[in-house]
Structures are given as C-alpha cells and as structure tokens.
Symmetry: C2
Subunit: 161 residues, 2 copies
C-alpha cells in the first residue's frame, strides 16, 4: 500500500491485514422503506476518536460483504441538531442527499443541500455535515475502499456553521 | 496499469494516455429536478460497439471533471421499452434505483427493482437492465474509475427477459 494509506472498512477500523472472507457475489439489497435496506445493519457513525459528532447513524450498503469494488457505498443519517466530525483526510467524499435537507461546511463556506444534490469534497478539504432542521437528513456517501484515517480539525470559535 | 486494464472515462473511450486537465476541487452539482443536475450533460449511453441497446441516456455526475476518486458516479435512464446491452466485464456494478422501476437480468435470473433497491453485480456476471413499464426507469450506477471494456454476451433466444 502506498503513501502509508491504511484500509478502513466501515470508515473506522484499520484492517490492513484482515481480509473479508465473505463471498464476492451478485447480491440485491432490497429497500425496506424508512431508509433501511434488507441485510444491512444500522451502526454508530464512529466508534473511535473523540466524541466530536452527535446524532449520526451509518449503514454500509456496499463494502462489508466481500465486494471487490474499489469504493464503498454508505448511507448516513443525521437527526435534527446532529452533526458529523469536522475533519480532513486525503480521500475524497461524494455525497448524494436522499432524505430531507441539511448543511455542509467545506473550509469556511457553508452550503445548504437537499434532495439529490451531489457534492464532491476534494482531498484534504476540512468538512462537516450537519442538520439544523426538524427532519432527518440522510445521504449516500461514497468513498474509496482504501483510504486514510480522518484527522479532526480544530474550530477556533464555538459555532459549527 | 496492471492486468491490461484500460481506463475508460464515461464508460466508453479508452483514455490510457489522456488525462483530465480539469481542476480537482470541491464542487456542488445542484439537482435541477426531473433527474438532471446543474453542470452535468445528458449523453448517449454508448457511442461505440453494436447497437445492442435502446432508449438509454447517461449522465456522468462524478468522473469527468478532474475528480481523483477511484470510482465514477453515473446516472442512467431507460425509457419505456428500452434496454441496456447484455454484457459482461471484470469490473463490478453498484446500481441504486432512484426513478421508477425496471428489471435486471443477471445470468439467467431476472429481478424486479424499484426505488432505492441496491444491487451489486459481481465481476464477469452477464447482465442487462431493461424497462418493460410505462414510466422512465432511472438509477445511479457506480463503477471503478479504472475498468475494463464490456464484452457483449450472445443471447440464444430472442427474448430479453
């Protein structure tokens, strides 16, 4: 692996040695309604690092069942008033909103995003997604399968916007 | 590049030498309604090979603007009675339905898929998507950025299902 990049499965554990033993086969993840998919578990957004986030859940739809894709497809959902970590990393994000609306901070700029808006966050760009609204804010986030660990970005003021 | 894999931009032209000169920067592709995005052009599904498909359009949302992701995000839409090529290739597909419903044939199996159903098509699996219904059938298709060229699969009978 070049550039000291570690492999993260599910956006958190470095698994440079462990390899999935699951079968690489064609598979349907049927949508069950309410932003849940059959065969996909609902998890915490992160289990490592400091608690610089709130009210976020994650579902890894593609990337934890033995697939050989060079990318992972996840669904994240931020409850009202919730927010993800303000962080940066070398890997890119592609975010596609499918539920509600929310905001994304990239560097010092804030953008409101809603249904099917798609944002590409380039390498090393500090970013945070958050939900100042009353309804859940849900989005797909696609990332490279092999990616570096996010680094928290310090915020000078208390505001998150 | 290993395994004699060629790089295809937009699922068609081999561009192993040519590299995008576009800037790799954070960018929002605002949804304009009617399954169109600002800054994304609507293209033919394919411009090469035999005409073994019908009534399909394509939009490359992520992958043709200088992004460094190891994947591309495209939106395809199949009009009523339309179908994609029946083909196989080494790279995988991840398909997420966002408009209408349709069918996917994988090997000799046919599956009906609708809103937010997600299907992973594993390497070298013959597949075709088609729309036997009266409304447009639209879906995201995520693929590795570096991928091999699809090969048509011969169909013994005339039926596509």
């Amino acid at each position: 692996m070049k550039n000291k990049t570690e492999t993260f499965i599910s956006c958190e554990y470095p698994l440079s040695v462990q390899k999935s033993k699951k079968e690489n086969k064609t598979r349907l993840y049927r949508y069950r309604g309410d932003f849940r998919w059959r065969g996909i578990k609902v998890e915490r957004y992160k289990t490592y690092g400091e608690r610089d986030w709130s009210e976020v859940i994650r579902q890894v739809i593609i990337g934890s069942h033995g697939e050989s894709t060079r990318f992972h497809l996840r669904y994240f959902e931020i409850s009202p008033k919730g927010y993800t970590s303000f962080e940066r990393h070398k890997h890119e994000h592609v975010v596609v909103v499918i539920r509600g609306r929310g905001k994304v901070r990239v560097n010092n700029r804030t953008i409101e995003i809603g249904y099917l808006d798609t944002i590409y966050i380039s390498p090393d760009t500090p970013h945070r997604l958050y939900n100042p609204y009353e309804e859940p804010f849900g989005f797909f986030c696609i990332v490279n399968a092999r990616r570096d660990r996010p680094k928290p970005v310090k915020i000078s003021s208390r505001k998150r916007g």
